[in-house]
Amino acid sequence: MTTTTATRQITYGEAEREALREEMRRDPNVIIMGEDIAGAAGRPGFTDAWGGPFGSTKGLIQEFGAERVRDTPISEAGFIGAAVGAAATGMRPVADLMFIDFIGCCLDQIMNNAAKMRYMFGGKSRMPLTIMTRIGAGVGSAAQHSETLYSMLTHLPGLKVVAPSDAYTAKGLLISAIRDDDPVIVCDHKRLLGRRGPVPEEAYTWPIGKARVLKPGKDVTLVGISLMTGVCLDAAAALAKEGVDAEVIDLLSLSPLDDEAILTSVKKTQRLVVVDEDTPRCSLATDIAALVADEAFDYLAAPVKRITAPHTPVPFSRVLEQAYIPNAQRVVDTVKGIMG
């Protein structure tokens, strides 16, 4: 399940578009809603002007029409709440939240309605809602368009949260999210959207709650999330040259967490470094560190390390932004510090 034999290479964004198209064909209840997901809404002669701010929905309106590929006004609480209401009444909506930084405009609908209805109603309702959103720094968009922030959503019971790391997992996780009867937030790193990778043409799922080992190793476990998985792989390659055999886990699902995969790895390697672009407090990084400090305590040979962004907003200036984002060198240095 950790690899694909596909040879066709497409981008992460194209893989997601394929997932959407296949699921919309498969199930007429699947609809997409968001700002400029088609573009030029209602303007005669100008269909699909944008196809989504990141092109993720390009071409879908031609096939599925404006009822199912539905541009919205700038009203995040309104249209995401409407997606929640549609999901509660039998549709299977995908809502596009352009940037995760805008979560504060619609969090009430997500946390108080989408995440809680099934529980509050004693299990007598379903909430097959998917929210796609974009995370991460590195493109010069500064403090209000560069957050990672998935830790905040992972904190909330009732939500599932995933963060694909490449085109293959992007398609598989998005299909799983759409088919899931609980609300799922899909966090796409903006710097992954254009990256190519092998993707099968047919529909397939990547199970929500399942991490994968991208590189086996015996000396230290590196857990990466989203873009940081690549940083871990780079660091592992550099470490290999210095004789350190790192195992790289690509987390993929933040909630539920694949604690088995993490614990199994750490019990073998006895060392853990979590690499997380989110800010450090009450984060995925602390979450995984705490898990291991409890359940793999007897196996640990060194302090559990976290490499994260600093506890600050994202700065604009390129030199600062680059310093903000965790990189392979920091991982290498940290690993060396605990290899003792």
Binding site: A77, M91, Q109, D259
Partner: protein, 328 residues
């Protein structure tokens, strides 16, 4: 105004009487200290859910508020299951996990009371979207208060429903107060219906103490929605006889005279009087309905009290539980 047919009149009266009996019985239980957490009584406002929901079937949707018992009853939710819910029993409509502020029965199209003011308007809008996409003439109703009309969700929802011509009726239950805050302080317009102008949709005012006025105007709004002509904002001027929640003394912010004025126009009493005068229904049959409502509540309380509380396992069901694994 045309007088509705007899079956409708009877339904309207029975529904109002059932709501009042339910609220009174619940209040009694709360005062006896039984359900912790209290609740928000809708006594005085019975005409609104009754007059509106008379036009709906189980296939239509209602999204409700913290003051939601009346909406549930008018939407056909089982009264015994409701009472059991409020007493936290496993036989409750939400198996005891929701309580007064989250009471719901999706199978009846009742999408839940809601503890967050203004939070239900987008939900109802989304249910309206489902209705529109399904194309089977379903309608969605949002009930919300005067206070809620100042939330951003009001604006966003009405705009969405207007541009998409969704079959939604936005029913503002203007009972003149949001907690202790008078509507003339909180709200920049005299009539909330006036705000329909911001969406180019009809804004209608009904007398929320007159079930037939609500019935008639809601009927027009529902029909418009079913015809695919889009949403309506229907403001019903009404009044809650008791405090915001059951422990609240409303005389800290309003006069006894004001209250008396509304009680003198009590929706149930007025309806009875007119029904007898107009010979629509007899006093006897209405009294029988009322008696029946109160005895239903006895039965409901007995049912609830005979029911077990949820089992401790229920704490972890109805949500995927990932962490800590089986240890909570």
């Amino acid at each position: 105004m045309a007088v509705p047919e007899r079956a409708t009149l009877l339904w309207l009266f029975r529904t109002m009487a059932t709501i009042r009996a339910f609220e009174e019985r619940h209040m009694q239980e709360v005062n006896a200290g039984k359900p912790i957490g209290g609740g928000h009584s809708s006594i005085g406002e019975e005409a609104v859910p009754s007059g509106v929901c008379a036009h709906l079937t189980d296939r239509d949707f209602v999204a409700s508020t913290h003051r939601g018992h009346g909406h549930c009853i008018a939407k056909g939710v089982d009264v015994k299951g409701m009472m059991a819910e409020l007493l936290g029993r496993s036989t409750g409509v939400c198996r005891g996990k929701g309580g007064s502020m989250h009471i719901a029965d999706v199978s009846k199209g009742m999408l839940g009371a809601n503890g967050v003011v203004g939070s239900n308007l987008p939900l109802a809008t989304g249910a309206g979207l489902t209705a529109k996409l399904r194309g089977q003439g379903q309608v969605s109703v949002s009930f919300f208060g005067d206070g809620a009309s100042n939330q951003g969700t009001f604006h966003e929802s009405l705009n969405l429903a207007a541009i998409w011509k969704l079959p939604v009726v936005y029913v503002c239950e203007n009972n003149m107060y949001a907690e202790s805050t008078p509507v003339e302080y909180s709200t920049s317009v005299k009539d909330i219906a006036q705000r329909a102008a911001s969406y180019d949709i009809p804004g209608v005012i009904a007398d929320g103490m007159d079930v037939l006025d609500v019935y008639e105007k809601a009927g027009r709004a529902v029909e418009r929605a079913r015809r695919g002509e889009g949403p309506t904002l229907l403001e019903c001027k009404t009044y809650r006889y008791f405090g915001h929640f059951l422990a609240d003394d409303p005389h800290r912010y309003r006069t006894k005279e004001e209250e008396d004025g509304y009680r003198a126009r009590d929706a149930i009493a007025t309806f009875k009087k007119r029904a007898v005068e107009g010979k629509w229904l007899t006093a006897q049959e209405m009294e029988a309905e009322e008696k029946q409502a109160y005895s239903l509540m006895e039965e409901a309380v007995r049912f609830a009290e005979d029911s077990p509380p949820p089992s401790l396992d229920d704490l972890l069901t109805d949500v995927y539980v990932s962490y800590p694994r089986s240890k909570a």
